[in-house]
Amino acid sequence: MKTPLVVLLASVAGCLSGASADQPPSPSTGQNACRVPDNRVLGPRMSERPLPLLSGDAAHGFRPACTVPWSTLSPDKQSLPVVGCYQDNLLQLANDAACGPGTGRLWVSIRWVRTSGEQQRAQSTPTATCQRLETGTYAATRDFPATPCTPPGTAPDGDANAARPAATAAAPSLPTPGATATTPAAPSAATPRPER
């Protein structure tokens, strides 16, 4: 009758990572940060926060080294090459001096930095979009979900938007290269009509 939440949480974890609760734990490969060729760290996600750096390696384990601002890693604010990667969440930089001598090349979590791979993926991901037509109806690409169209410039509800998968959440504001097929959205009572 009372299912332990640990099982429920494990199920949720399974849903998020695409694995069932019975499978052995494995890190997610959703972003595939380690498979991006010539990946580069473009900068911090939040400029005013220092970045936690790790030393070590996969064989000997990682250990916290220090925290430094982005300007310490890149004084001229240039992007930095990624020279190593671990489990899609740690990126190794060529820098081995930011935390003092003897640390070896330092690692940073992908959580705190923007990468070129991430940017490329955002640009190349096929994106469904929708558009309000002159007639007052809406047109959308075939992949657009069956949710109401939110035209560019219209602020969607923050939380509802955040809860959706990234591909659909960002859909209305991004261009769709090569998308020719359109699916006209049938006007309904909820569809606003142009003012006359």
Binding site: K2, T3, P4, L5, V6, L8, L9, A10, S11, V12, A13, C15, L16, S17, P24, P25, S26, P27, S28, T29, G30, Q31, N32, A33, R45, M46, R49, P50, L51, P52, L54, A58, G61, F62, R63, P64, T67, Y86, Q87, D88, N89, L90, S109, I110, R111, W112, D159, A162, A163, R164, P165, A166, A169
Partner: protein, 558 residues
């Protein structure tokens, strides 16, 4: 008012005084009997009733700000109110850094380094770091912890006894400048001892501190939530003293639980975080407490999401910083087979760290004055006197109702009693059947109702409707009017009693800091005629009164 009128009123009051005093004394006697039975804990039966009624209040109104105020999202540009966030480590999080259960010290050091970016108000590590670990790992942990401390983040480490920090202390770590890193200076040891109610093993009760009977109040290890809350106040020592002073060793406060999950958790929870439980369900004989809520009441950030954005691509860095602004992070584990689970009244089983998280939420919600049971209060008898006062009022209403009812229905029949005319109609109806037949039929019906709960309400409703129809057909008009007046009087008395109960529970909750666990007892006394069963004591009291009066009169005459 004329002098004559005032004189008449004074005379009437003087004349009525003995009657009023007698009525007050009789209702007091009745209330004392009721108080005794409310607290008559034969084989522990009184406790589950109080705890269940407390759970019902939180299930029905736990998301109402007047019962359980919780911090709201701050206005733009305003500092966030202190709030609690659970950071959950699981196997996937460990795997992201190549670690396995049990979470190694080095993993905690790495996680603390990541959490440092978020600049929380405080961090609790709900892990016992008592196993031997490499010195370098311990020094890494202490180094990061010292950095966090220096940055204004308070750090707390779970212990079960004072010597639990010895392993960390033995590493004799030094910081970058060569100064020894003292464990005591970077980590505040806190107790993570849990208490469950004996009757159902539910975690409603949070200890102030962990100490044995030989220690004086305040000498034990302060519980995690208490220490974290007090350290955030202007006078931490005074706060701890205030909460632990004059308390027995096992004392604690009651945890208010909200049936509603934290909205942040909707991003990962499988079910809805908005749980509504209507009191109507209890009346309709349905389960009155929420079933398995898949959305805990405290915002939960999975460590694997923190370490790997791909786990939840929609969780932006900005949202993370908003979540952590002014937050107390409570880092706990959710590992299969670790058995670190707590049974909660409204969310079934949750990982153990939620126990401390909800306790801290309670302290924040009630400004450091959480609800404490009468058993742990000083002077204890004063709080039972409050109970007696409430019951006295209810008893007075009951006696007033009885007195009026006697005036309205001089025959002395209760408004709920079947009239002689109706009895005269029903009895011959059943008498058509042989006694074994109707007794077996009635037994069968009652057995069915006992077995199938849904039948109970239907049967009760059908019986009431049938009796009303029979009464309307056979009873005299004057008798029906008399009965209606009696019923209205009963309803009026019940409404008054309910108002007294609501007021008493509110005063107890708001100003006396009592958990809302007594209302069901009050209500059952007022509603279900418990008083009726015990008015015999009044008859006995009256008889004693008469004997005393006779003896006194005899004494005077002799």
């Amino acid at each position: 008012m004329s002098m004559g009128g005032a004189g008449g009123l004074g005379r009437r009051v003087r004349e009525a005084r003995p009657r009023l005093v007698r009525g007050a004394l009789h209702s007091l006697l009745l209330a004392a009997v009721a108080l005794f039975f409310l607290n008559f804990n034969l084989v522990g039966t009184a406790s589950p009733s109080k705890r269940y009624s407390q759970d019902l209040v939180y299930a029905w109104f736990g998301d109402e700000a007047w019962l359980y105020p919780r911090p709201r999202a701050p206005a733009p540009g305003r500092a966030a109110a202190p709030h609690v966030v659970v950071v959950m480590i699981d196997e996937q999080a460990l795997a992201l850094r190549g670690a396995r259960w049990p979470a190694p010290v080095e993993f905690h050091a790495q996680l603390l380094a990541e959490l440092e970016v978020l600049r929380p108000r405080g961090i609790l590590l709900d892990f016992l770091l008592i196993d031997p670990a490499p010195r370098t790992d311990i020094c890494d942990l202490l180094g990061v912890a010292a950095r966090l401390r220096a940055g204004g983040t308070a750090l707390y480490l779970a212990v079960t006894q004072p010597g639990d920090l010895a392993t960390l202390q033995a590493a004799a770590c030094l910081d970058a400048s060569g100064t020894p890193l003292s464990v005591d200076r970077v980590f505040t040891p806190v107790s993570v001892q849990r208490q469950a109610d004996d009757s159902d093993f539910v975690g409603r009760h949070y200890p102030f501190e962990q100490r044995d009977d030989r220690q004086a109040p305040g000498e034990g290890i302060t519980s995690a939530a208490v220490r974290m809350y007090c350290d955030a106040t202007p006078a931490p020592k005074g706060c701890v003293t205030r909460l632990t002073d004059a308390m027995p060793a096992n004392a604690g406060f009651e945890l208010a639980w909200s049936p509603t999950g934290d909205p942040f958790n909707q991003r990962w929870a499988a079910g809805s975080c908005v749980e509504t439980v209507s009191p109507l369900r209890a009346i309709l004989n349905k389960p009155a407490l929420p079933r398995e809520s898949r959305c805990p009441p405290v915002a939960t950030l999975f460590a694997r999401v923190l370490l790997n954005p791909a786990e939840d691509p929609t969780l932006s860095a900005e949202r993370l910083f908003t979540l952590s602004d002014g937050a107390f992070f409570m880092v706990g584990g959710n590992f299969r087979g670790s058995a670190d689970l707590v049974t909660t009244p409204l969310h079934t089983l949750l990982p153990g760290v939620y126990y401390h998280a909800v306790a801290l939420q309670n302290l924040l919600a009630f400004d450091g004055s959480p609800k404490v049971r009468k058993e742990y209060r000083t002077p204890k008898i004063a709080f039972y006197c409050y109970d007696l006062l409430v019951l006295w009022l209810l008893a007075a209403i009951f006696l007033w109702r009885q007195q009026w009812l006697h005036g309205v229905r001089p025959l002395g029949l209760s408004p709920f009693e079947i009239s002689p005319a109706a009895r005269g109609w029903i009895a011959p109806f059943f008498a058509r059947f042989p006694t074994p037949v109707w007794i077996v039929a009635a037994t069968g019906l009652l057995l069915l109702m006992a077995t199938y709960h849904d039948l109970q309400l239907i049967a009760v409703a059908a019986a009431i409707v049938t009796v009303i129809i029979i009464e309307l057909r056979v009873a005299r008009g004057s008798e029906i009017r008399e009965r209606l007046r009696g019923l209205l009087l009963y309803l009026a008395a019940m409404c008054l009693s309910l108002a007294v109960i609501v007021g008493a529970v509110w005063v107890g909750y708001r100003w006396l800091r009592l958990p809302p666990g007594d209302w069901l007892g009050y209500f059952s006394f007022a509603a279900f005629g418990f008083f009726l069963a015990h008015t015999a004591i009044l008859e006995f009291g009256r008889r004693i009164d008469e004997l005393y009066a006779a003896r006194t009169a005899g004494g005077h005459s002799t």
